[in-house]
Every structure is written in structure tokens, then in C-alpha cells.
Symmetry: D3
Subunit: 251 residues, 6 copies
């Protein structure tokens, strides 16, 4: 396989998830000049839009609104965004959906994949998204697995073995989320905040997720080695690395 | 705290452990020109020297022999070595032993610590060593904890929060050892092999641990991202990172 | 949401399960004058009716018999019962079955939900029932998820966040069943016994589950705080609470 | 055993822990008119007083200062406080310390016990405190275990089986802390805040732990059943119940 | 149920898996004169045949080749082999596939079942195969579950409760594979080696899996009781027993 | 090492434990003509003799009584018994106690060891006994570890690697006790019952542990392979095997 240039792919069950949970990592990649692609499997139109349903909006209106907001948020982060419109509550796992993800992976050639945790007792769509993101990653590596148009991939089209990180769920302990990576997002945080502000219906979450970034930032500092020279007002995001880290140096 | 220069400290229950389990990481650090220090808590004189006991050697002869061999192996890896001579089978945890380790940490200012797993149903000395290594690491950070001579440390003498990695036990699955770091030791392997050959009484283990390096090397390749450009004959060592990784970039 | 009056809903894979595993909780709720509803997803006609198959009964005869027995048992406990007749061995998960459960929840407005464990190496229908019971509970909370007739729920029809308890499987340790709630069913036990006696084909289980109630009763006593004034002949049932307990007082 | 009146006992490794981690539960008990007793095993004089060491204070000065502050905080919460002065970093487990705790339990007759988690990779004193709190609780129940003055307890002096709750550590996920109880501390929060403000050296933690109370309050709401009528600005604390809950009603 | 004669059934996701992972157990059964049946759910034609795809072979050519090689390997081990040709990458779980396995079980009357682990982050086909193997085992026990031709089984056709063992995945620790059975395959190893050599495309794995047999053989010796009289060059395979062992004697 | 003849060693924290928890295994060994040795680390004089304390007995009277009863019970089972009289509540771990156990092991040359679980939130003496039993087993294997009289063991005196089984605690799920071995004790049960009846102060436990044997017997049947020909009234005991089983045949 040829050397790939950095490419971050984020598989998100609903429009919005990627902002609260991984906005810092996305913005940091974009700030480094790397490509970042968000794939929203659904708009979260049924399960995560209660205020709009209560306001009497129709299904199509809600989907359009959420598409617009998510696009703005991705733009604020510096990422591309795609919508697979698979429906939510429940998000159904299917061969077709996985095949679409295989295509996305082969097109974007991810060097890092972010997605939900495999456990979430509060929202079954999140693990369903994670299972599909993981399954597609394995299928996309196989030269004998056809693209969704029936053609077979060339040697260049199959993907490598990008590391997968699970981003933080709303109630981490209930989701067996034990972070093994703490990401310093201090420099990227203003972009994350700007992206959050693209989601006006969830205004109460702006401060909630700013506080969370402070909280994870404190942990960044507590766990940092002595020579990282971290600035004082560290902001953080927490992740679970799913596959072992491969490295040439322990650090 | 001032920026520390790289310093690897390996806390090993018995003379010999550090060679089989962490020789690659030690040699790699030395090859990068970094300081590496091995601390042997005991010589393994009672529990890991059966052939010498059967040959009728005395306790003191066995300790001298193992000290000599371990020193040669450390030298082959490019590391310093210290012996605390705490006795083995059992290795006893004590305030005094922990205080000695606090002194070592403050003197060597580790940026990375390697030690045994916290679970080992085959050898209680290994978890005892790990518990002391971990406890001393926390105590050495505290400015209110005196040195073993009763003096209090200066601000420069206390240590930071170096990451801790557990190296691979003999029967990894029985020790709840699930590697989350796979280290590429290809370039360092010749030194590791040379260090193994400093331990002639365990000649049958030379090939055993060479095979293990091949095995972990295969896993390095299987888990590597696409743009690492790994050479074909990859050799590896497996580790468990104990505290979350702190990083500015997911990779 | 308006204050709901107490409503217990029990989702049972097969007719019969609710008697052995949760009969005490059901009877206790009924004795307090609360509404209790049992939902049998299947009759257990294929997998749990071996003696009737050996006696040459037909599928329809077996289903009728088990429906009759389960109805009598529910009545003895003081509960309503509904049968979804989804078939067993295997009990198939489907969107339609989940939608039926959403309707049941919205109609019964549960304040407590009981169901099977998520792990059972002896009977795949049990985890399948639990997964559907949990998924439907989340969907029934969402105002954007339609009822099975296509209408959308009103604000009053969506449900709250009732706690979920898993009842005890036949071989608890193999099902990762670690009780975190021990229920005193002393007063309700006569009703549970009467319900068991509505299932004559499983007469050998009457004493088995009476013994189990004694066993769990002993644990009730061993774990009880000092001022509960428990009677001497305590009978018990064990449960696993799935979501955190919400409370205004630690006790 | 006679019916005990409510009595909350909090076993804290260092002065200060009880404020951040369990201040809400303590204040809530006091507001209900119940007795609450804090037992500080040490002052945290070596490990948790870095700023005072840096300011050149002596060991005795630091202990006196922390004693004073912790006493003020306990008073703000409405609790009694006792100091065993066992030393910290490390807090040493000993028969004598456990015997002192046995005496405390027999004197205070706890109906609820709060302490640290059994796992904490950042601070070995916390699990040591928890182990002693748990061991003493079992010993205090036994009529054949003498008091520390050598006398044997009367039947009234031995304690019952009070439930034990672990309060929240600083980095919960790294301490295997998966809350199974979420406590609504909304009414008690002003007292908790006042107690925090008795600890001026850790002023940066006032907002940090206020944010945490908001965070756990959001989870209180998300997990609450529909008919709890919770006020909008819910504040919370998270706990792990160690022994099964004993109850006469599932809720 | 009548006494069954020994019958080993191996459910393998892809042609080839059974050789590397369970070849020793299969050959050992055959050497004891017992019946052994391998069921390959797919040929591994898409996911495990990269070199053939790169060589420009067609799907049908690859399937034919792998069928031939797997048949030769089974023959070398002394086992029968059946191919269900369900497709791979992904191997899809379906009622029809499970029904076919029910038929196989009822026909072969297994006294031991071997299959993949339930967790494998590198290959979703493996857990899918294991789930179907386990589900079919339970269904095949039930006299009320029809055969795939719609007939009902006789009392003799239903199966007992054969123990299930998971064989070793490629990266055992990542698959939560903690062996609780170490099988001595010393005498059977030459047959296993011969079977490996029937798979020429994977020549590099011959030595890899020979080394693994040595490695597991060392563990056989380390864990063996004192009176087994094991020969020096022990070869081994590792397994996880899924259900409790039933025995009349602890040993 | 020479072939050892079967020798069962049971390490029990208190007099009495071995009867309720392992009486079947002990009696079964004795019925097969094998040697069985019970080692009681304490008499359970403080923590498990409440009724005698309430009756006003002295410490020495209680110890004498329990010694007598335990001796009678061991005799009924067909086992030898030794008392180390280390004291209970708490049972203290010490080098001396472990050294005594090393001597016992070297004298009795166990081929099987039974002891308590490593987790027991209700009784800290049980895990303490298990830790010492396990540590001594490893030390007794080492030719460089002296006997308690200072002499070194001969090659014949060191022990092999006997399998270790944990017997069932009172509240198994709370002790992480997940049985992986179910022992058929049907033939041995009358002796177990007779041994129970040697402990008149705990008469209420006779039926309790008879019921438990029935319960585990039902599980023996449910998990048994088809050709074991088990009798109908199966009685059982549950165990956790600690080290992997070494075997020449999967069954």
C-alpha cells in the first residue's frame, strides 16, 4: 500500500453527535491541514429532535433543519460532511448501509476512524453505528469484497488498518467507557465552541460540553508526562482506543 | 517542573526478567541515546535458579552469579543496572523498599516506567514488584514525602507523572494481560538477542523469546496504520499502558 | 410529564418465565394495589414444552395449554397478561415486535420494567426478549417515534424513564447475574406459590423455586440494615438493576 | 438488635476528601436531622498539601491548618468530625488502625457508611482507607471481636450490616467507578458549597466540583422515573453501592 | 437419551480456520478412532484469499481451490468435512443457516463442539459463526424444533448437551481469549503439520503455528500436575471451555 | 518428579468451612481411597461462633469446642485434619503462616488443592486464607525456598503444580464466583450430610446446604454431556478452577 496522507473519518449515528463528542479532534486535524470527513448515518430526526416535534414540525422539515445545522457545524470545524439518511430510532443495521460505508472508506482512505462506543444503554443507535463502522472497516480492507456498484477494488482502493477511537458518550461510566487516550484540544477548542453554537436548539449544552472539556483538560494535565509543557488552561477530549497502539517508542 | 530529558526506568522483580520481557524497549531507548536504568529488586536467587540449586550452589554463589549475568545483559542492552537485594520467594513489600525506589525515581527522573503486571497467578513476586513500583511513583511526586535520608526533596527533585507500561508475563492471558501497545523492536532486536545470550543457564529460552518477538511482530504489522512503512521482518514486544495516553494528536 | 401511578410491566420470553423468576415482585405490586401487566412474547411452545411434545400434542394444542396455564398464574398473582405470540426457539427480533412493545409501554405507562438478563448461554430467547424490551423502552420515550398504527404519540403518551430490573435466570452465575437488589417477598410468597401451582407440568419446580426463595431470603437478612425489623421466615427474589438508582437519600 | 436511629459515617483518607466527594450526602443527612460523623484517617499532610510545603510550612503547621479547615467544613455540613492522625503517603493499614475504626463504628452505630473506592491508580491511600473501612465494618459486627481496650462488646454494641457506598474519585473511569446510585443533592448543595469555601487553598476546585454536581444532576434527571417531580436545577452526587440493596419494593 | 459414541463437530467460519486453530484436537480424536466432522460455513473466498485475488483468480475459481485444499487438510487430520457455502465477508446470520446447522448436529450427534470465540475485533465472521454454532446447539436439543425439512425429530434425533470449546484466535488477548483448557497434542502434531502443508498459499503460517504449538506446549507443562509423566517435547493447543465442566472427580 | 499418589489438601479459614463448601469433594476422594487433608487456619472462634459467645463461653472453650466438632466432621468425611490456630477476625497473613503451609504441602504432596475464593465482601478471612494457600503452593515448588526449620528440601520434597479449585462461598455472585466445574457428589452426599450433623450449633444450615446440593445437582444434569448416565437424584458442588485444565482429551 502506498503511504496515505492523513485522513480522519468520523462515523456519527445522528447529526450533532460529532460536534459534542469529537469536535476537538476534528478541528485539531483541520488546523493541521489534514482532511476530515464526517459521515452522519441519520439526522437524528426522530430520537433527538423532541423540541422540534413539540413545535409541530414535520419529519421532512426536521431532517432539513438538522442537515443544515450539522453542515454549518462541520464547516466551522473545517470538515467535510456526508449524510447517509438511514433513519434513526432505530438506526437499522443492513448490508446496504455497511456497503455504503465501505465505499466511503475506500474513497476517503482514512488513517484514523472515530465512532461511538459499542455499549450505550441509553441509545441503541450509537452501538449500531459503531458496529457498522467497524464491520465496514474490515470489509474495506479486503480486495475480494466488491464495491457497492459491483466492481472490485484495485490494490490502491483497499484501505489499511486505521486505528479506531471511540468518542465519549453522554454517561460514560454506564457505557463501559474507560478512556485510554486524553486528547489536548486547547488550540482547537474555539472552533469546537463555534461549531456548538451552530446548534441553537441545544443551547443548554454549550456550557455543559465546555465544562466537560475543562474536566478532561484537568485530566490531561494530571496524566501528562513532565516534559510536555502544557499551557495552563488545557481543554481536553477523552477517547477509547479500540485496537492496540502500534509504535516505535514508548511514551 | 523543568523539561526532563528522556529517562527509562525498569523495575524488575528478579534479575533476568527485564531481558526477556522488556529488552527490546530498553535497547531501543539506548539506541536513541536515552538513559535507561534497570532496578532489580532481587536476584531471583530462590525462585528462579532451580538448576543452580540442583547443582549444589550456595545462596551467595547463586546471587553473585545472577548479578554478574544480569549486569552483562544490561550492558549488552546499553542500560545501567542497580540491585536492591530485597530477597525473593517471597519478595516482601515494605516501607523501606518503597523508600529506596522513591530515591531511585528522584535520582533518575524517569519519563517512562516499565514494570510487571499487577496479576500473576504463577509468581507473586511480580505483582509485589509492580505494586511497589507504582506506589513509589506516586510518593516520589509529593514534595511532602521525605527522601530516605529524612531530607525533603526540592521542587526539582520530585518527579512528574511518567507513563507506566506493564511488560509481558510468561502466560499473558492468565495474567489479564491485554496488550494495548505493540512496540516495534526490529532495530533493537540484535541487542536483545545479545542480552539473552548473557544468560547461558536459560539457553532454551533464547529461541522461545525470539519466537515471541516474531509473534508480536506479526501483530505489529496487523495493527499498523497504512503509512508506517514497516520493514518485512518486524520484531515486536507487547505492553499494557496503565494510565491514559496523553497526546495532542490521535494516531 | 404528568405523575404516573405505579405500573409494573414484565416482559417475558415464554409463558411461565414470569412466575418462577418474578412472581414475588408481581404479587407484591398487586398486594399494594398497583397495576401489573405481564407481556409474554411467546408461549414457549417449542423450546419449553418437551413433555407435551413427547405426549404427542400438536403445536396448537401446546400453545393453547400454555396460554391457559399462564393466564391462570397471572391471575393468581393479581396481574394482567398479554400474549404477542411471536414464536420461540428462536424468538426472532424484529421491528414489528419492537413496535408492538412500544405500543404496550405507551398504553401501560410503566413505572417499573422487569425482563430477562442480556446474557444466557442456555437460552437465546431470553436475551432476545431483553434486548427488545430495552430497545422498545427507549423508542417509547421519543415523541418522534410513531405508534404502530402510524400515528404520532401525544406528549402524554410517551413514557418516562422507568427503572429496569433483570430477574434471575436458571443458572445465575453463567449469565453474569450479580444481584444488586434483594427483594423481600415474604408477604407475597403465598401468591407466588399459588401461581406456581397453576403450572402442573413443572411440578418438580415448585419446591425448587420455593427453596430458591428461602435462599434469597437468607441473603435478604444477611444484607439488611439493622433497623428493618424483618420477620424470621424471610423469602426473597434477586434482581439486577440495569440503570443507576435515582434517589434523594442513601439507604 | 434494637432499631437504630439513622447515623451516617464517612471514612475519609485525608482531610478534605469528604467535602468534594460526599458533601452533598452529608449535608442532606444533617438537613434531615440525622447524625453524621466524618472520620479522617489522616490530614493529607504530605500528599495533598503541596502548596503549603512550597510555602515553607512545617509538617505540624500543615496538619494543624488542615485540621482546622476540615473541622470548619464539617461544621458547615452539619457533621461531627474525628481525626485518627494515621499519617498519609502512605496511609498504612494496621491492626491498630482497624481496631480504632471498630471502636468508632460501635460508638456511632452507623446505618450508612461512605468511603473511597477500592481502586485508585492515582492515590494508594484511598483504597487503603476503603479496605480498612470495610474490614472494620465486618469485625464490628462480631460479638467475639474485642474492643480496642480489650473488653468485649455487649449485644447492643455490635453493629448491624449498614450499606456501604463508595463516593466519586477524581478520575472515575480509571478507578472502575461505575455509579449505580445517583443522589439528588439539590437542597443540600448550598451547604456543600459553603463547606467547599472553608478550603481556601483549593479555590480552583470550588467551580470544578460545582460543575460536577451539575453534571451528575443532569444524569439524575436522565435516569429518574417519570413521577419524581424533580426541580429543574438538579444537583447530584454519584455513588457505587457495594452490597446488594435490600428492599421491599422495586423502584 | 441413549449413550452416544464420541463425535467431534467443528464449526469453522472459513475453510482453513479449523487447521490452524483446532487441527491438533481433531487429529487426536481421529487417532483415538473417534468420528470428527468439520463444517465450513464459507470458503473464506472474499476475506481470506487476498493472494488469489491479486493473482486474478475469479470468485468461483477461488472457492473451488479452497474447497480442495480444505478437503485435503481434513483428510490429513482424519476428519469428514462439509461446506455450507454461506458466503463470507460478511458471513450472514440467518434462520436458514442455523437450521442447516441444526440438521448437521442431529445427524452427527456431537459429544464435543469446537468453534470460534464470541469476540474478534479483526474478523466479524468468526463471532457470527460462533453465535450460529451456539444457537443451533440449543435448538437441536428441543424436540419441538422441526428439522429443516419440516419433520419433527424423534427422541433419538435430538442432541444432548455437548460441551463447547472455543479455539484460539489469531490475536488471543484482543479477543478476550483466556484459555482454561490446555490440550496436549504432542502425538497428534505430525498430522496437524501435514494438514497445514495442504495449504500451500499460507506457507509462512506453517512455522508460525508450529511455534504456537511449542508455546502452548510449554504452558501445558507449566500447568500440569506432577503425575502426568509428560514427554519433553510437548506440543499444545489452547481452548476456552464455554459451559462448566461436569465431572465426578476434581483433577 | 516421581508420580504422586492422589492427595487432596483443603485450606480452610475457619473450622467448619470445609464441611459446607467442600464436604462432597472430600468424601468422594476418601471413598476412592485417596488421602484427604484438611488444614484449618483458625477455629473461627471470634467471627463464626456468635451463639457460643452469647452463651457466655470463653475464648478457649469456644476454640476447644470447634476443634472437637471439626475433627468429628473430618472423620465423618474420611479426612485427616490439622489446625494451625492462627486466629480469626482477622486472619492475619504472615511469613510464618505461609511457611507452615509450605511445610504442610511438602509433607502431603497435594495433587489437588481446594480453598476459598479470592473475593469475599462479607468475610476478609476467606480471601486471606486463599492468598496464603496460593502463595505457599508456589513457594513449595521452589527448591531454593527453605523449610520452616531452615533445611532445604530435597528434589522429592518440592511439590508439583497441583490444580487449585475455589469452593463455593455463601453468596456466590457477590464473590465473583462463576463456577466452571460442577462436581457430581451424589454418592458422597450421605457422608457430607453426616459431617454436617457433627456441627449441631448450625443445625439450620443442614437443610440449607442440602438444598444447595440439590440445586447444584440440577445444574450438573443440565450441563452434562449425553453419555454420562447420571442417576436421577444428582447432588452437586460447584467449583472455580483457577489454573487452566491440562488434558489430553477435550470432554
Amino acid at each position: 500500500m502506498a503511504e496515505s496522507s492523513p485522513s480522519l473519518v468520523v462515523v456519527s449515528a445522528h447529526a450533532g453527535d460529532f460536534v459534542w463528542r469529537a469536535g476537538g479532534a476534528i478541528a485539531a486535524a483541520a488546523l493541521r491541514g489534514e482532511r476530515a470527513t464526517v459521515v452522519c448515518l441519520s439526522y437524528g430526526e426522530r430520537g433527538e429532535s423532541a423540541s422540534q416535534w413539540l413545535a409541530g414540525k414535520s419529519l421532512e422539515e426536521i431532517k432539513a433543519l438538522r442537515r443544515e445545522e450539522a453542515s454549518a457545524a462541520a464547516s466551522a470545524l473545517g470538515a467535510d460532511i456526508e449524510f447517509l439518511d438511514l433513519g434513526d430510532y432505530p438506526l437499522r443495521e443492513s448490508d446496504e448501509a455497511v456497503a455504503q460505508l465501505v465505499d466511503v472508506y475506500r474513497r476517503t482512505q482514512p488513517t484514523v476512524v472515530l465512532t461511538h462506543t459499542l455499549v450505550d444503554p441509553y441509545n441503541g443507535d450509537h452501538p449500531a453505528a459503531a458496529r457498522m463502522a467497524l464491520q465496514a472497516r474490515v470489509l474495506a480492507q479486503a480486495i475480494g469484497v466488491a464495491n457497492s456498484d459491483g466492481s472490485y477494488p484495485s490494490r490502491e482502493q483497499i484501505i489499511g488498518a486505521p486505528p479506531v477511537f471511540f468518542f465519549e458518550p453522554h454517561q460514560p461510566e454506564q457505557c463501559d467507557f474507560r478512556p485510554n487516550v486524553l486528547l489536548d484540544i486547547t488550540d482547537a477548542f474555539p472552533r469546537k465552541r463555534a461549531a456548538m453554537e451552530c446548534l441553537p436548539a441545544q443551547k443548554h449544552m454549550w456550557s455543559y460540553y465546555t465544562d466537560l472539556a475543562v474536566r478532561r483538560g484537568v485530566q490531561v494535565k494530571r496524566n501528562a508526562g513532565p516534559n510536555l509543557g502544557l499551557a495552563h488552561e488545557t481543554m481536553g477530549e477523552a477517547y477509547v482506543r479500540y485496537y492496540p497502539q502500534v509504535t516505535g517508542e514508548l511514551a
